[in-house]
């Protein structure tokens, strides 16, 4: 049973429980039936979560109820002061950024934002930035560097927006510049993938000293649908593609791209987000001071090496 099916089953069981309680039939042993149903519900949920496929994780990572970058900023930082605009052309609401305190330390936070309703999504373009968004992010990162503040980014995006204006305004150039400039930042950078890490659009905010991921977040070269379309000319084989692509947090940890994984509770993350917030807070409390003690040169060197070593090749092996 896939997670989606399990969720449907859980919903059924829950409505049965509700009906049972509402009718409160005296001829029935309500308590024991309720107990049975609850147990069945928990078992279904546990089984599904214990056997999550990569496809299930993609589904979870994309869930619209999942906490978005704004939720993380609210939960983890104090006095968030949002800064807007790329100072060149536009303000792109699909990337949010600004100043905040983390446990009293001034930091710069940046994140791609997905909306939770259609209305929100129309404003933030479903979390798909235009070049202006990446340029705003870069402006804020350079500003952080000037004032020697650590940078924390939250990544949750299907990818950079494939639109006409986006191309006209240099989507490729904007991403490329972020990759290059982020690589040279003399302050600590930590990137946290909280949902969907989609392609170059995600990479443009994750050239970091450390990359962390939530257990059910994904990070991939392209959406599974796009991957299937390119390799098999068939978008409907996305599920199959997921199992191939090695896009889960564990996969990226094994590739040594990701340094930390935060475990997620069973069921909807939005119901128990505190569990994840706490882990991230602890990790930041642990790691930020370590990184802030490093010299600017050492920070740049460590970041360079992190990406330099990805993609093993052997000489003379042909």
């Amino acid at each position: 049973m896939s997670l989606k099916e399990a969720e449907a089953r859980v919903k059924e069981l829950e409505s049965e429980i509700e009906q049972l309680l509402r009718h409160n039939d005296p001829n029935l042993d309500t308590d024991s039936i309720r107990h049975e149903l609850t147990r069945a519900r928990d078992k279904t949920l546990k089984e599904a979560y214990d056997n999550l496929t990569s496809y299930d994780r993609v589904y979870l990572a994309r869930k619209s109820t999942r906490p978005n970058a704004r939720d993380y900023i609210d939960a983890l930082f104090d006095h968030f002061f949002e800064l807007k605009g790329d100072r060149l052309a536009h303000e792109d609401a699909s990337i949010i950024g600004g100043l905040a305190y983390f446990c009293g330390v001034p930091v710069t936070v940046i994140g791609t934002v997905k909306g939770k309703s259609l209305e929100e999504n129309l404003t933030c373009n479903f979390g798909m930035p235009n070049p202006e968004g990446y340029r705003k992010a870069l402006r804020l990162m350079k500003q952080a560097e000037k004032f020697k503040r650590p940078i924390i980014t939250f990544i949750d995006t299907p990818g950079a927006y494939p639109g006409i204006a986006a191309e006209e305004h240099g989507q490729g150039e904007a991403i490329a510049r972020n990759l290059m400039e982020m690589g040279s930042l003399t302050v600590p950078v930590i990137a946290i993938v909280i949902g969907e890490g989609g392609s170059g659009g995600a990479l443009a905010l994750s050239v970091a000293n450390q990359i962390w991921m939530l257990e059910n977040a994904v990070y991939s070269i392209l959406s599974p649908e796009g991957f299937a379309a390119i390799l098999w000319k068939d978008r409907s084989r996305a599920q199959e593609a997921c199992e191939f692509m090695k896009l889960t947090a564990q996969d990226l940890y094994d590739f040594k791209i990701v340094e930390r994984i935060f475990s997620e509770p069973r069921g909807d993350l939005c119901d128990n987000a505190q569990i994840v917030y706490k882990q991230i807070k602890r990790a930041l409390q642990e790691t930020l001071p370590e990184l802030m003690h490093m010299t600017p040169k050492a920070l740049v060197e460590q970041r360079y090496k992190k990406f330099r070593t990805i993609g093993d090749c052997s000489d003379n092996a042909m």
Partner: protein, 289 residues
């Protein structure tokens, strides 16, 4: 130059025959016809004439595909090119079915080890680090080997204080290597950053097509960006854009001339002027000592 590539190809084949049982050699798919059809105007052109004309259609001026070995031959001072890392080998990280054999087959067909040739050569006497992508190799896509070869070239150029010219021809990151391919964008861009910081010249030369993860990394980061006439330059594919925005794309969208109008290309250079243009720029930035 041509001879060198031919020799290497032969050696490669010999070596492969040693480690694998010989298979019956299929005839190449490339037609060895007297005529070649122009990909743009559709006219048949005498192949020999086309080659003499640098693979530019003499009738309509279309710049047809120019494979990396030929481009290098046209570009560098005779006998000056020394290839680097020509035997680098990657891994099938996703365990993608048929990927290894696809690479083997392409290696045999093209004589290349991957989608880019890198090395050091002289252009009108200026020693230059040169990388040329070849779109025959899985659409010139960038996987670990391409990323590594380019990074090593850029790092070498930085160490030896050499100018750098990279010719891009790529569909973007290589799907078959998943996230590892994506990370090559960061790796190459970081190496370019150090080359810039050392005060050295990097010329990005965009050829057809320059798209996806290559546009979104080293190809867009040149001090000077040149492009071949009408070559495709963009991040997202045209079909994807059309499906997303549900409207027709503007005339000339994502072509070199269009991207120049948009401010992302310094000059569109005809192939006959490639060598002299690069020579001028390299000499202009020449650093003594």
């Amino acid at each position: 130059m041509e001879e060198l590539f031919q020799q290497r190809k032969e050696k490669l084949n010999l070596f492969k025959a040693l480690i694998r049982p010989p298979k019956p050699v299929k005839p190449k798919e490339v037609p060895t016809g007297l005529y070649t059809r122009c990909t743009d105007c559709g006219q048949d052109i005498l192949s020999e004439e086309l080659e003499q004309n640098l693979f530019v259609c003499p009738l309509c001026g279309a710049h047809m595909k120019l494979y990396a070995p030929k481009r290098i031959k046209m570009l560098v001072d005779e006998g000056s090119f020394r290839e680097m890392n020509e035997r680098l080998k990657g891994k099938n990280v996703l365990g993608f079915p048929g990927y290894n054999s696809k690479i083997d087959k392409l290696q045999r067909l093209t004589g290349l080890n991957e989608a880019v040739i890198t090395g050091i050569g002289k252009i009108e006497g200026v020693r230059t680090a040169i990388g040329v992508m070849d779109s025959r190799f899985i659409m010139g896509s960038m996987g670990a080997v391409v990323g590594e070869k380019i990074t090593r070239l850029v790092e070498y150029a930085t160490r030896k204080r050499l100018p750098l010219v990279l010719f891009s021809a790529s569909g973007g990151a290589r799907m078959q290597e998943g996230i590892i391919s994506l990370m090559q964008m960061a790796k190459t861009s970081n190496a370019i950053a150090r080359h810039h910081q050392a005060g050295l010249l990097y010329i990005s030369y965009m050829t057809h097509p320059t798209t996806g993860g290559v546009t979104a990394s080293f190809a867009s980061l040149g001090d000077i960006i040149l492009a071949e006439p009408k070559c495709l330059i963009g991040f997202a594919g045209q079909r994807v854009i059309e499906q997303t925005v549900n409207q027709k794309l503007p005339e000339g969208f994502q072509r070199a001339e269009f991207m120049q109008q948009q401010g992302f290309v310094d000059r569109v250079v005809e192939r006959k002027d490639m060598r002299s243009t690069l020579a001028f720029l390299l000499k202009f930035h020449r650093q003594e000592g």
